[in-house]
């Protein structure tokens, strides 16, 4: 059988990959995708913990389900904001969106 910590390591790796993407990609949409990866990593954690530690209580799965909802809402709003900035600046490169500073 696969031990719990295998899942946790996969989740950690996915989280780190997502973090890297959020920090290093220039395109805002790519950053949104990276953040989705990070949320997904948390979800793997939740479900794995639920399965191995407390499978008789439903709360882990429910938590994961709510993360889906939040991820969907976040993606919708985030992409809308990106499109909005694209309309006013003709760019989605995050580095170039730096009118507000200091």
């Amino acid at each position: 059988m696969v031990p719990l910590w295998f899942y946790l390591v996969v989740s950690a790796a996915l989280f780190a990959i997502g973090a890297y993407g959020a920090l290093a990609r220039r395109n805002a949409i790519a950053i949104v995708m990276s953040v989705e990866l990070m949320l997904n990593a948390a979800n793997i954690n939740l479900v794995a913990f639920w399965r191995y530690l407390n499978p008789f209580e439903i709360n882990g799965q429910i938590f994961a389900a709510f993360v889906f909802i939040v991820a969907a809402a976040e993606a919708a709003v985030g992409l809308a904001l990106i499109i909005s900035i694209y309309r006013s600046r003709q760019t989605v490169i995050v580095e170039d969106v730096n009118m507000l500073k200091w």
Binding site: R26, N40, A76
Partner: protein
């Protein structure tokens, strides 16, 4: 560790998830990134199946791949002038990579029982007084349904045939609408989705003129 179909499936899905994720962040073509995102999400869905969470696996496919990834694709098409960028990584990517690596190492050290191996302690030092034993047992935990724990009546707590479907969709549905379950966050989630809907429309709507 015994090689079973489960371990093989796990390895496959893990590779799919991580490889897909990696390609999302390093692929030069944004379109490819989005497709790899789908792959990665599909891999996660597979992991959910292995974890006996079929409902979540289905939702993962429906919501993540069916909705979010498609949304991303739409966004990419709407801003398609930005697709063919030569440089996809910004100048701080080495620092970002270092951060991600350190983050992974910290998480790895924290969640993996390898820390308790004697060779690890020999290299990095470790404290004897911390009772890591419990953590090892938890992290190495196999499915609790394999135990033959019995309740006070001498019955097995988990019936053998419950093993793979002790949580049904029905249980989830019930929890979401029971007063002493998760009805409050459930209702709040509906409001959250409404807000996101209104918000996305307000922000992204084309001008009428």
């Amino acid at each position: 560790m015994e090689i079973t179909w489960q371990t093989i499936a796990f390895a496959a899905f893990a590779v799919m998830t991580l490889g897909g994720g990696l390609m999302v962040v390093i692929s030069r073509n944004l379109w490819h990134s989005a497709l790899f995102l789908m792959l990665s999400l599909f891999g996660t869905s597979g992991l959910f199946v292995l974890l006996v969470a079929p409902f979540l696996a289905a939702v993962q496919v429906l919501v993540y791949i069916g909705a979010i990834a498609i949304l991303v694709l739409f966004a990419i098409m709407l801003t398609r002038r930005m697709m063919g960028l030569e440089e996809t990584q910004n100048t701080q990517w080495p620092a970002a990579a270092a951060v991600a690596l350190v983050l992974f190492l910290i998480l790895f050290v924290t969640v993996s029982p390898l820390v308790d191996e004697q060779w690890f302690k020999d290299i990095f030092g470790g404290d004897e007084k911390d009772s890591l034993g419990q953590r090892i047992s938890r992290l190495n935990a196999d499915l609790p349904v394999d135990t033959d724990e019995r309740d006070e009546n001498g019955e097995l707590k988990v019936k053998p045939n419950d093993q793979l479907n002790f949580v049904t969709v029905e249980a989830i549905g019930e929890a979401l609408v029971t007063r002493d379950g998760f009805v409050l966050p459930f209702e709040l989630a509906s409001i959250l989705l409404t807000a996101a809907l209104i918000g996305a429309i307000v922000v992204a709507r084309e001008d009428e003129a």
